[in-house]
């Protein structure tokens, strides 16, 4: 397996040692790549920040760490980073996207020199699901313009948000900086201005990547690259004489055929080996749906010892892509987003506001027995009012405008002395 290419200009410089997150070699006959990691959380961490730093989706980190608060996890809590994957049951060439796993795999080379680059993605919602099937990259565009589909414009209008016919490149553009237009009309693989949405079903059918990931994918993907989009919540794979099973919570539009397919495969494994599978273990993996490969069967005696044990990883001093919170100035405009009694609720809301795309900076200030969630600072009243509008439309929050404490009035007070 390969480590991180430190000389690669496109790789963000946030890796600790040789942690494999995006790039893996695939040994012939293997279907499982990577290994699980452990990390101890620090005060102020949130799962979306941890997920982005390790190039994981929020779905993956949440599924393997049930019960951990996404926004306000406990400091010192040890969580698992699911950096191990079973390759989807699809041709190993071009791009393969597994919607259920919310992960994209890009294959390079073949046979013994097969390499796979993998990135977490955001996919379509239940109402507007991503398509499945075979297609290809039709064209590539840097700094794309988003031509707003009528259906989306209507959705926004209902919420009181009037979208323009086209959104030019920039922080407001949801396509981000790079786009791969697919041969299936209206569907793209693109970046995002909402990085916290990676690992969520939040798009209108397109495939979203972190800004740093789309940059690499864009560079490594020529036009005409085949793209296979599959929806496989149940995955089976082999590595070092072990059969692994990986289960993701199935999407609602899933049919029983997928389950039947995996059941037939399990029966075939039993038949081939002449031994009985531990079906209670299979059932447990199915029920828990943790989204990571779990060894369920030894194809040869003693191969169980070859399971890649999870590794502890040191908490980085800075998490890549974590929203920065500027200092709140009294002479700047700001917005009171909420006044709450519970500190955890306030911290959670503040984190959610910070992870909007584009970011709305927010922090919690203690006020008597309550906690104020203050968004800002904003350069002018218009910017603050825009933030109030976004808070209302996107988060159903009624923000209150806080005017700056005017310097002039302070100075006047000083002159009187």
């Amino acid at each position: 397996m390969k480590g991180v290419h430190e000389d690669d200009q496109l790789v963000p410089k946030h890796f600790e040692g040789y942690i494999e997150r995006n790039e893996f070699s695939v040994a012939k006959g293997d279907d499982v790549i990577g290994r699980l990691l452990f990390i101890s959380l620090e005060k102020g961490d949130s799962l979306p920040d941890i997920a982005r730093h390790f190039s994981l989706g929020l779905n993956g980190v949440s599924a393997i760490n049930p019960g951990v608060d996404i926004w306000v996890p406990k400091a010192g809590e040890r969580i698992t980073l699911p950096l191990s994957f079973i390759l989807p049951d699809a041709p190993r060439k071009g791009i393969v996207i597994n919607l259920a796993a919310m992960r994209l795999f890009q294959f390079k080379g073949e046979g013994n020199s097969l390499e796979v680059f993998t990135y977490p993605v955001g996919v379509g919602t239940e109402e507007r699901p991503s398509p499945t099937g075979q297609m290809h990259v039709e064209r590539k565009v840097v700094r794309p313009t988003w031509h707003v589909p009528v259906s989306i414009a209507k959705d926004h209008l209902i919420k009181g948000d009037l979208l323009p016919a086209a959104v030019l490149p920039g922080p407001q553009n949801p396509l981000g900086e790079y786009a791969l237009y697919l041969s299936k009309p209206s569907y793209l693989i693109h970046g995002t201005n909402k990085p916290a949405s990676i690992g969520l079903r939040a798009t209108n059918g397109c495939i979203r990547l972190y800004p740093e990931d789309i940059k690499r994918l864009y560079r490594n993907t020529p036009v005409k690259t085949p793209v296979y989009i599959v929806n496989q919540p149940y995955l089976l794979g082999q590595r070092n004489g072990l059969v692994y099973m990986e289960v993701h919570a199935p999407l609602e539009n899933m049919d029983a055929a997928e389950f039947d397919r995996i059941y037939a495969k399990l029966r075939a494994i039993e038949k081939e080996s002449g031994r009985t599978l531990d079906w209670s273990k299979v059932k447990k993996v199915l029920i828990e749906a943790r989204g990571v490969p779990v060894p369920i069967f030894e194809t040869r005696q003693g191969s169980g010892k070859e399971v890649a044990e999870p590794m502890e990883v040191k908490h980085p001093s800075k998490l890549y892509g974590r929203p920065e919170i500027p200092v709140l100035k009294t002479d700047a405009w700001s917005v009171l987003a909420a006044d709450m009694r519970d500190k955890t609720d306030a911290v959670r809301l503040s984190a959610i506001i910070n992870h909007q795309g584009p970011q709305i900076p927010a922090r919690v200030l203690a006020k008597n027995d309550n906690y104020h969630v203050i968004a800002g600072p904003f350069n002018d009243a218009k910017e603050a009012k825009d933030a109030i509008k976004r808070l209302k439309i996107d988060l159903e929050i009624d923000g209150k405008l806080i005017e700056p404490i005017k310097k002039r009035s302070l100075e006047k007070g000083g002159d009187k002395r």
Binding site: W71, L200, A202, D345, I352, L395
Partner: protein, 99 residues
């Protein structure tokens, strides 16, 4: 005749002596009876006091158990509310991540 008188006198003496012993015994028995009664009464009182104390302790224990149960219920309720609030916040967040 003389011997008959002696016998009679001895008999009278014996009766007289015997009559004196019976009176003492009776007084002693009566005194013991009184002591026993007093002790019994004390025992009844003690038992009543003990029962009252035991009843009070039982009530207190029951009260403590009820309070503990209520506290647990309230803690569970708070946890449930916190979970619901977290879920609600998360649902709103997920909605906000759409285009």
């Amino acid at each position: 005749m003389k011997s008959l008188l002696v016998i009679l006198m001895m008999l009278v003496l014996a009766i007289a002596v015997g009559g004196c012993a019976t009176q003492g015994d009776l007084e002693k028995v009566q005194s013991q009876q009184m002591l026993t009664d007093a002790k019994a009464e004390q025992a009844v009182q003690d038992a009543q006091t003990a029962k009252a104390a035991s009843d009070a302790a039982a009530l207190k224990a029951e009260d403590a158990a009820t309070r503990a149960e209520n506290a647990l219920k309230m803690a569970e309720e708070r946890e449930k509310v916190a979970d619901e609030k977290a879920k609600k916040a998360d649902a709103i967040f997920q909605k906000s991540m759409k285009k």
